[in-house]
Structure formats: structure tokens, C-alpha cells
């Protein structure tokens, strides 16, 4: 079946503008994760959703970042008033939840550049 998809693949924006990044998880996967990969920072967790539970937002770097997941499927990560330090590749992953098998599969990412 189809893997995790993300859009757009690239986004260039000006400092201070808001951006929205989209993730479509693998069909049937109830757990969805957002990560960020920055130069010199490695891969870091941002937020995750599991089923209908409240999301774990512990990795969000500031209150300019938020995410929602509609209908238990598609997720949108929103960054308000973007800053240059937000430039990074934003990766989404999904996995089956509620089982002992919880392999995560990643999308191709959205490369965000803030000028």
C-alpha cells in the first residue's frame, strides 16, 4: 500500500509568515509523529498523536508551533510567525498503535527555508 506522504516537499517563506505542513499517514495507522531534522541538531521529536488521546506536545520548541489531526488521519503542523531558526526538514511518521509491534515509517519530509 501507499506509504506516508507529506506536502509540500519544499517551502520557502519569509520571516514572520505562517506556514502549514501536511502529513497523510499510512492507512490504518493510529499513531502519528512529527520530527524535525536541523543541521547540527539531529532528529528531534516534536509532537505525537495516538488514536483519540490528547497529543503529546512535549517536544514542541515554542508556542508558535501547533498541530492537529483531523478524523484520526491527516495531520497539519502549523508554525506561526516563522523565524530563521525554524529552517529544517520536518518529518512525519506513523505506526500501528495498541500492539506490541510499533515500527514507525517515515514520509519524505518537507524542507522549510525561512528567509
Amino acid at each position: 500500500g501507499a506509504g506516508v506522504s507529506q506536502s509540500p516537499s519544499n517551502k520557502v517563506t519569509e520571516k514572520g509568515k505562517d506556514v502549514e505542513l501536511r502529513c497523510d499517514p499510512i492507512s490504518g495507522h493510529t499513531a502519528l509523529y512529527w520530527y524535525r531534522q536541523s543541521l547540527g541538531q539531529g532528529l528531534e521529536f516534536l509532537i505525537y498523536f495516538q488514536g483519540n488521546s490528547a497529543p503529546d506536545k512535549s517536544g514542541l520548541p515554542s508556542d508558535r508551533f501547533s498541530a492537529e489531526r483531523t478524523g484520526g488521519s491527516v495531520s497539519t503542523l502549523t508554525i506561526q510567525r516563522t523565524q530563521q531558526e525554524d529552517s529544517a526538514v520536518y518529518l512525519c511518521a506513523s505506526s500501528l498503535a495498541g500492539s506490541s509491534y510499533n515500527e514507525q515509517f517515515f514520509g519524505p519530509g518537507t524542507r522549510l527555508t525561512v528567509l
Binding site: 509523529y33 520530527y35 521529536f45 505525537y48 510499533n102 515500527e103 519530509g109
Partner: protein, 109 residues
């Protein structure tokens, strides 16, 4: 939180050579995954291996959970094996993965 350390950080190989990449983690885990990040940035799943040994073609992996390490073996390396290899662990349930800093592999023809 849990710490993940990978070694070596960089590795240069001649095509056809074998290599071993190591991942140490600081606490017990219920999931460990190895990924290959290709030059386009895509994370490719190599192994889901919380314990034991698995093989897939020229690649194999072993995780010794009681000693908190995992090894990734690449045999008869090819130029297409170049890229960054990441180890990532999950300490419980469906919690987020914690990644190591990766091993950057360059295979030269």
C-alpha cells in the same frame, strides 16, 4: 531521558569491504530501529529489531537488549550504501523514537 550513541561518526570504505556500525543505549527499550537516510533525505527502514538477529540480503543486525547495544553489519558494500545510518529507540509503548546522531558512510568505487 534515554541516550543513544552511535559509532563511528564517519566511515569511508572501499567498494566490496565489510563494516560494523554500533549503537549503544542507556536504558531498556521496547523498540529499536535502524534507518538509512539516502542522499535525498528519505529515511528508509532497514530493521525493526528490539532483540535478536535479523538478516536482509547484504545487511544484518543484532540487538543484545540485556547489554544495551545493537550492531548493524554491511557486507560487500556498494556505492549505493552511502548515506547516513541512524539507530533509534523507543523506551515504552508508542512513545516517540529517540535517535542517535548517525554514522555517515561513504563507499568509494
Amino acid at each position: 531521558g534515554i541516550q543513544v550513541e552511535q559509532s563511528p561518526p564517519d566511515l569511508i570504505l572501499q567498494e566490496g569491504a565489510n563494516s560494523t556500525l554500533r549503537c549503544n543505549f542507556s536504558d531498556s527499550v521496547n523498540n529499536l530501529q535502524w534507518f538509512h537516510q539516502n542522499p535525498w533525505g528519505q529515511l528508509i527502514n532497514l530493521f525493526y529489531i528490539p532483540s535478536g538477529t535479523k538478516q536482509n540480503g547484504r545487511l544484518s543486525a543484532t540487538t543484545v537488549a540485556t547489554e544495551r547495544y545493537s550492531l548493524l553489519y554491511i557486507s560487500s558494500s556498494q556505492t549505493t550504501d552511502s548515506g547516513v545510518y541512524f539507530c533509534a529507540v523507543q523506551y515504552s509503548g508508542n512513545t516517540p523514537l529517540v535517535f542517535g546522531k548517525g554514522t555517515r558512510l561513504s563507499v568509494i568505487a
